[in-house]
């Protein structure tokens, strides 16, 4: 092949390589919009395509119940993931949940469908640990369930489905996602909010609760 021909061929192949590269990056970042995993997770939560499977939870008083099993369940859940020994983000989340609980209880029947749910992902957390956490933030049993999964396989499945990543911090604790997940009664993920935006999360929960109330009438 002549040098001129090789040059043209090379330019064409390079253009093709660059097109493939651009497509791969566009796929990874959902059209050059989200460059981190968490940004993408939060943005895609709003599409309502993620549905979590039913799970059996055990609350701070040892009572077991299945969630996200009933197709007709109309509750709206604000879910966060914690471990009771957490010195940082779970403390902030606990205080926020306490404030949300106070607001919801003050509003009364209007927001009766909204439930707060803190799920521990730490196998070390016993019922007593959950009790200590719940009483520290004065969690009212009727409104705020502090719980753990009865099977670690179900817990793993839940975290995988929501793409919540928990990593060991090397000092016996965990670095984990502190986001608040808005999930409806059928287990469909409606939105994700960073823990700083708890007011926005609560507002959205109220909006969805009002919507399901309206749909019923």
């Amino acid at each position: 092949m002549s040098p001129a021909g090789a040059r043209v061929l090379t330019v064409a192949v390079c253009a093709l390589v660059f097109a493939c590269f651009s497509m791969a990056v566009a796929e990874l970042t959902s059209g050059f919009r989200y460059w981190t995993f968490e940004e993408k997770r939060v943005a895609l939560a709003g599409t309502g395509t993620v549905r979590i499977q039913q799970i059996e939870l055990q609350d701070a008083s040892g009572y077991k119940r299945h969630l996200w099993r009933d197709e007709l369940e109309e509750d709206i859940y604000l879910v966060d993931f914690i471990y009771t020994r957490c010195p940082s983000v779970c403390q902030a989340l606990g205080s926020e949940y306490q404030r949300m609980q106070d607001i919801l209880l003050a509003r009364g029947r209007q927001d009766s469908r909204i439930r707060l749910l803190s799920i521990s992902f730490d196998d070390r957390d016993s019922i007593e640990d959950l009790q200590v956490y719940a009483s520290r933030y004065r969690a009212a049993q009727s409104k705020w369930m502090v719980a753990r999964a009865t099977s670690s396989a179900q817990m793993r499945n839940l975290l995988d489905k929501l793409e919540v990543v928990v990593i060991k911090d090397g000092t016996g604790g965990y670095t984990h996602n502190g986001a608040i997940h808005l999930i409806n009664g059928q287990g469909r993920l409606l939105a994700i909010y960073p823990y700083e935006s708890w007011e926005e999360a609560l507002g959205a929960a109220m909006f969805h609760a009002a919507g399901s109330e309206g749909g019923k009438q």
Binding site: M1, V17, V25, L28, F37
Partner: protein, 193 residues
Amino acid sequence: MRYCFVRYLRWLAICAPLALLIPTVRHFIESRMALHMLLEFPLLFSGGFFAAGHLSRLRNKLRQTGLQHADYLGITGLTIASCVFAFWMIPAALDMAILHPTVAAAKYASWWLAGWLMAGSVARAASGILLFFFGNAAWMSATAGLLYLEAQDRLCVNYQMDDQVVAGWGLLALTTALAAVGLVQAAIPKRLA
């Protein structure tokens, strides 16, 4: 004697990526951001780079197909290597590679292939072209490094904040190394050509 030593090092570079087949080794390397980016990527790349010299039968077959014509002055191989380098600097790509086995496979394959193609391209490229691509890689590495250093939050869900800072400094060190290699090969072109 010296030749034996160099040959030994080459074989070491070729075989090193096989260590990643051991889950404990792989998990250890990938559990730290700096090791993931600055040890695993170079290991895979150099594995492919040095393997190219030892796969002469395959290379000859490829030469018969005239494939080298599509790599005029080594530009295609260098472009592919640049794209691979740029792609794996994206924080979301690192997380996906840890969470999804198929993405991980793409990572191992792409870095190895980038090294393998680059070996042929370096032999074909003029030193000015190599200087351009090395300069470009240095610039990309510096941009990613500064971004990792300045980010207020964790950019990868699989890594700690302090790990991200170490990786940022490591990328800046890599910038210096890439710029140095580019300049040195431009000063003494015969070494690489």
